[in-house]
């Protein structure tokens, strides 16, 4: 291993942390201003939606939501930053008086459970298939696999989800149509656990099938590039076992770009699979976001967007650190 220059590593970290902080600040600021420039009045919308409540209630609804604030934009922004530091994300308008954090507490575990697991499964299977099809890239099976996944990848999530529901839950009623578990099951029992599992299979399958193609293609292309490198030829000439060349020489180097992508998508997991969750009525963050947009629930929207931004930024930072460990070129200044 080449000599490591501690200064380079420190500078690398400092640059990355600075970038992280700056990006966080921009995200937080945009997050405040963008929803406020959107037209519409949440109280009026609620009235429009709930036909048959007295029109005079508008004022009391406004007062209850606190959207009759007379503060200037700058003061509102200041209050927002202050509250954010205190961890107060505000009160959800569409779920008033539940605070935003209370809404997220319900939705986040479902999303991380479903989306997180599905993303990890998809990454591992996709990467392994990618290695395989690159290694045997001239066989018919490999071409067929790649072609098929390019085709499947172009399906919209919701379309694939609806198709699976129609075939495997509606026509053949083996899987449930949606939601996260059978209503009124006691939490913490085995029955509950298996119900959750059974309800998660179709949505997870939707995500795995439609996102796996990307991992296969990335890994395959990287592998093919790496396989053309001189050190692979050297390794072959030295007579190393093919398995060793495939995993330790080729795959280990080819996986670097995939890691960044994987970290990013783990970050996006927090945002939930909006379409998947809608189609399956899965009580996650994506579904909450959709409803927040529909009801102009700014505090909830802001919190979810903020969560996504922070998660992606942090995941990216972790990917940078991982690369620092995996890739010696970064440590010795890019030689």
């Amino acid at each position: 291993m080449p000599a490591e220059n501690p200064l380079i590593v420190v500078a690398y970290f400092a640059r990355k942390i600075g970038l992280l902080l700056f990006a966080l600040f921009v995200a937080v600021t945009l997050n405040f201003f963008i929803p406020r420039f959107m037209p519409g009045d949440p109280a009026q919308d609620l009235m429009d939606k709930m036909q048959g409540i007295p029109l005079e209630s508008l004022e009391s609804i406004r007062a209850a939501f606190g959207v009759d604030s007379t503060d200037s934009m700058v003061i509102q922004y200041g209050k927002y930053l202050l509250n954010l530091i205190k961890g107060d994300l505000g009160i959800s308008i569409s779920r008033f008086p539940t605070p935003v954090s209370g809404v997220l507490k319900v939705a986040v575990p479902w999303t991380i459970g479903l989306m997180g697991t599905a993303t990890i499964i998809s990454f591992f299977i996709g990467t392994i298939i990618g290695i395989g099809v690159a290694w045997k890239r001239n066989t018919r099976l490999a071409s067929f696999t790649v072609g098929m996944f390019i085709f499947v990848r172009s399906f919209p999530y919701f379309w694939l989800g609806l198709l699976l529901i129609y075939l495997l839950a509606f026509r053949i009623p083996f899987f449930p149509l949606g939601s996260a578990y059978t209503p009124q099951l006691q939490r913490g029992t085995w029955e509950f656990f298996f119900s959750v599992l059974k309800h998660a299979i179709l949505p997870a399958l939707t995500i795995v099938i439609s996102s796996m193609g990307a991992w296969i293609l990335t890994m395959r292309n990287n592998m093919i590039n790496v396989l053309a490198e001189d050190y692979i030829t050297v390794a072959q000439a030295k007579g190393l076992s093919l398995r060793r060349i495939k995993t330790l020489y080729a795959a280990k180097n080819a996986i670097l770009p995939s890691i960044t992508g994987f970290a990013m998508s783990l970050g996006f997991v927090v945002g939930g699979g909006l379409l998947t969750e809608m189609v399956f009525a899965y009580p996650g963050v994506g579904l909450m976001l959709y409803q927040a947009v529909q009801t102009k629930d700014y505090p909830l929207m802001q919190a979810i967007f903020l969560f996504i931004s922070v998660a992606v930024l942090v995941a990216n930072f972790i990917a940078d650190v991982a690369i620092l460990i995996l890739d010696p070129r970064v440590r010795d200044g890019g030689k």
Binding site: Q51, E56, A64, T98, L177, P183, M288
Partner: protein, 549 residues
Amino acid sequence: MKKAFLVLILISLLLSVTVLAADVKRGGTLRITSMKQGVLLKNFNPFSPNSNEIAVGGFYETLVYFNPQTGRAMNWLAESFTWSEDLLELTFKLREGVKWSDGEPFTEKDVLFTVGLGKDNRALDVASLWTSGVVDVRSEKPMTVTFTFTSIDTTVIERFSSVFIVPEHIWSKVDDPLTWIGEEIPVGTGPFVYKEGSFSEQSFLVVRNPNYWQIGADGKPLPYIDEVLTMTTTNEQAPLRLARGEFDWAGYFIANIDEVFVKADPEHFKYWLPEGNLVFLNLNNLQWPFDSYNLRAAIASAIDPVEITRIMASGAVPSSIAGIKASYLHLAEEALEEYGIEYDPDYAKYLIERDGYRLNRNGIYEKGGKALSLNLYVPTGWTDWIMGAEEVSRQLKEVGIEAIVTLAAWPSPYRDMMYNGNYELLFGISVTGTSPYSQFDNWVHSKHWAPIGERAGNYYGMRYKNEEIDILLDKYKQLTDPEEQDRIMAEVLKLFLRDLPSVPMFFNPVWFEYNTRNFVGWPSASNPYAEPRPTGMHKMPIMLSIHLR
């Protein structure tokens, strides 16, 4: 004639009740969809617009229930209500023997306490009693409550249909009534109590209150059903789950409902889509060309709401030219006889020509170089309305009027156009409210009126002003006899149809799908004893009527 009609209604109601008495069977769990899609959060606060629907009506009840299908107030926790001679005082006599679900008696103190909360905090004054004329509330003798008003308005009675009474002995200890969500089990007078520990993000259970004050046809306390299981779903899931029979009662939009839902079990899967808000062709009365009655009447006879709603296939209910719900059409009988307009394209052409227009080379009517070529605005992305607008445009084309369907984003700039009167022709919406009176008071009364370019009081209006109608509507508020009020409304409808300021097309439906595999006794178009909404008090007459088959 009208008396005879009422007697008929009463007889038929009595009949339906006696029929129920013969074969009432108790028990069962009613499975109903929540209006909250996807995720449920615990909130049983009767003052919150976001509370779970069963909390209002199921736990907490009102003094009266105002039925939007009949326009009449039904006594609930109040045994009766009376107006003073000068109509400035309203006295409720409360029902004796009603108990809170914890066993404490319900008294006038609870009513005074509940109303008092709204006096101190506007956000708790859900019915806006204190901002619309109430100056005082007091109790002169036990079990009575008297409200004093600054001005005469007898229609204020319908406000009390959204004042949900909470027990003083519990709520006086709640720190902030606005943010209470049901940390302790809610204590109410209603037919249901919360089943502890049943709440999750997907469903919750309420069970019958064994000591409820209303008595069923079998002489035992209502409700007939044992439990209500509220479940959440989404627009995407609802049609499939309904077709699978997973709900007894749902309030979800389903496109092509006969094919998707009813066909799965035509014997048991039913729906009734009563009229919600009215969608009308809003013609700007202050501008060419719709400052002329002939042109407005021409539009009315050129369009066919039945065909428009058929093409939309979204459950919209065609409206008569009177623009009021079917259950009130008896009020418009005379008006329709005198001024009614039927679908008749030839008559439309005749009216346009009578105004001096002649067909030009493109087949469009023209006068003085001005062709009847107008933008017809419709909100961007409201797909069923856009389909309706395309059909309106096609029908108008037949009579030589070119209506160019133009999309504008909702709410801005669309709603602003309506507020400021910058349009000739657009799809407008009129909130039908609780009665034809409240519909017309919001829609036609000139207190909301403004000249073009100035912001009107609401966005429903059509730049139309008629002092005679204003006077009649103001007089309506000073009457206590429902029959006299009906006569006033009949007059208003006559004037409205005489001038025909705009053209009613269809009603957005109230979505109501039900399943008779387990339960019977549902309201329907032929027996509209309540409006089938899960919100407010509306659901309660239904939940107290249905029973196992």
